[in-house]
């Protein structure tokens, strides 16, 4: 098998292309405002040469908001995924490696969060915390780690049972040392894949929370655009240009990350099959 170099599969290429498109968009949002049509002060103007994606209910240029929103959606996606992956990895490695009571206690907590529906709990927490950028990140990060924790735990358990760990104990290595230097590098592949998948989930969750009205009104995201389209009657007005583009952006960016994550996961699975089979 070819071990050197990382050649993405077709699926991963598709994902990379989608993400590059989103990032290009985010970069464009840093261009000076006048580049994409001015606010026209006429509400629900359909797409035209002066406003490529028309205007919304208060006459703002939809394309300009869309570009601004890409920053919010993407950064919340990345931050939320970082927090949740961090939590999941720490808990998973700890539970999987220590085993016994620690494992059982952490396992019960993980199970709790796996069974309790995440989105309603997020809505509840976000409603109490109040809408703000960091609150959305924290709510996603604190509630989206269980799947990661479970997968990392399973892998860490497998690693813990393999002879090289036993050998290290026999040489006199300490547990924290083994956890950081041996277990962590071995779960790294799954952590990375989970992170990419978590970015996708975080983008979707952020959009969902914003759609309900729990997003930061100071920094309207794509989900917030859908929220306004719903609550301010753009849908009933038939102004499709206000809600079709943000929906496409949410779908494509989350799809892009999902495709890459899936590719990484399957690659990871096939490369570690031999270890899993014996122990």
């Amino acid at each position: 098998m070819k071990r050197f170099g990382y050649s993405p599969t077709g699926v991963e290429w598709a994902g990379i292309a989608l993400i590059l498109a989103v990032f290009a968009m985010t970069l464009m949002s840093f261009l000076p405002g006048g580049c994409f049509g001015m606010p026209s002060s006429i509400p629900y103007l359909p797409p035209s040469s002066s406003n490529f994606l028309g205007t919304n209910d208060i006459g703002d240029d939809v394309l300009a908001i869309l570009l601004q929103g890409s920053r919010v959606s993407l950064s919340i996606g990345l931050l939320g995924a970082t927090v949740s992956t961090l939590f999941g990895t720490v808990i998973g490695v700890f539970a999987g490696f220590m085993g016994g009571t620690v494992d059982e206690a952490l396992g019960s907590i993980t199970d709790f969060f796996l069974v309790v529906p995440a989105l309603p709990l997020m809505i509840l927490l976000a409603a109490y915390l109040g809408p703000s950028f960091m609150n959305v990140v924290m709510v996603i990060g604190l509630l989206w780690w269980p799947t990661t924790a479970r997968m990392v735990r399973a892998r860490a358990r497998q690693i813990r049972g393999s002879p090289f760990i036993e050998g290290l104990m026999g040489v006199g290595a300490r547990k924290p040392y083994i956890m950081f230097r041996h277990v962590l590098p071995n779960v790294w592949g799954i952590v990375l894949a989970r992170f990419v998948l978590a970015v996708s989930s975080s983008i979707l969750l952020e959009a969902g929370l914003s759609f309900i009205g729990l997003g930061d009104p100071q920094n309207p995201s794509w989900g917030m655009m859908l929220h306004f389209a719903m609550t301010r009657g753009a849908l009933l007005h038939g102004a499709w240009w206000t809600f079709v583009p943000p929906g496409i952006c949410i779908s494509f960016s989350s799809l892009g990350f999902i495709l890459i994550g899936m590719g990484m996961e399957s690659r990871y699975r096939s490369s570690t099959k031999s270890i899993g089979d014996v122990s």
Partner: protein, 321 residues
């Protein structure tokens, strides 16, 4: 096994048999807990001792408890009862400093070389790791020197040291594992069927290198194997294991030329089948033994000494009969 002439290693010198045991255990019982079957007795009162500089072969069929005994001696698993001692100290009563010394001086070589090294680490780092854990090398240069010398002794070149486990063959991996075990200049190397996963020619080369290194450094080896001809060719002393205890032990030449225990006899003649072993009271070989007597089913025979450093657990050799 043409490369190994039996004569060159088979030297049961009196000096070796007389020296005090370096590592050993007494009456070790190990019961693996299992919620389904209520527990599995892997070791039923096994005693063994390894003397300085000797090559002790532990032979027996699969399921006889060889690996469990080896792991208990290496301090990898805790016995249910009985005690393991290193030098004159029991392992259970060692402080952290003594324990660290034990960990440095007793090294374990596992059965599956492809899982014995961290797949994410370079071979060099894996071999150097024991040095780092015990802070045995003060500088990078000293570490490099030690790793290189121990690697070249087992036939590993710099090229292989720069790779990761997945890019090495099974033989190369086993060499790396051996190098890792020897880098701390141990007193005892416990090798659990180190060559059973390899093809015969590689097997012979690696065993040869292990023996060369042993000659040079003078460490003792506990060689766990089910390969009788290999054991006969390389060992000074032999322990035969059955049903979780040592049924016969003695100098390799004695055991192989004139086995005492009926089980050893059938093992050497190739007719033994450990699967039908008696797991109840009495001798584990009871149900298959041609020479069984009334006493054999009632109680497990104790260790009878039949000569210097020669013992057998069989009622045939009891003074009462």
């Amino acid at each position: 096994m043409k490369q190994l002439s039996p004569k060159s290693y088979e030297t049961p010198s009196q000096r070796l048999l007389d020296s005090a045991p370096l590592l050993g255990c007494r009456d070790v019982v190990k019961i693996f807990k299992s919620y389904l079957k209520g527990g599995f007795t892997a070791l039923a009162g096994a005693s063994i001792s390894i003397r300085r500089g000797e090559l002790l072969a532990l032979i027996g069929e699969s399921g006889s408890g060889k690996t469990t005994l080896a792991k208990i001696l290496a301090g990898l698993i805790q016995p249910t009862s009985g005690e393991v001692f290193f030098g004159d100290k029991p392992l259970a009563k060692m402080g952290s400093k003594d324990l660290l010394h034990f960990r440095r001086k007793v090294q374990f070589v596992p059965q599956y070389p492809d899982l014995a090294l961290d797949p994410t680490w370079y071979i060099y780092d894996s071999i150097a790791e024991p040095l780092r854990i015990h802070k045995e090398a003060r500088t990078r240069e000293e570490e490099l020197e030690k790793v290189r010398s121990v690697s070249s002794r087992v036939g590993l070149g710099l090229d292989q040291l720069r790779r990761k486990p997945r890019d090495l063959s099974g033989g190369e991996l086993q060499r790396a594992v051996l190098a890792k075990a020897m880098v701390l200049s141990p007193d005892v190397v416990i090798a659990d069927e180190p060559t059973s996963m390899l093809d015969p020619s590689t097997q012979a080369k690696i065993v040869h290198q292990l023996l060369e290194a042993k000659k040079e450094n003078g460490f003792a080896v506990l060689f766990v194997t089910h390969d009788l001809s290999l054991a006969e060719a390389i060992s000074n002393r032999v322990c035969v294991m059955l049903g979780g205890s040592i049924v016969e032990s003695g100098a390799a030449s004695d055991v192989f030329s004139s086995p005492l225990h009926p089980y050893t006899l059938s093992l050497l003649s190739g007719s033994a089948s450990g699967l039908e072993m008696n797991r109840g009271t009495g001798c584990p070989f009871y149900s298959q033994c041609d020479a069984r007597m009334g006493a054999c089913s009632k109680s497990s025979p104790p260790e009878f000494m039949t000569g210097k450093a020669r013992s057998v657990r069989c009622w045939l050799f009891g003074q009462d009969y």
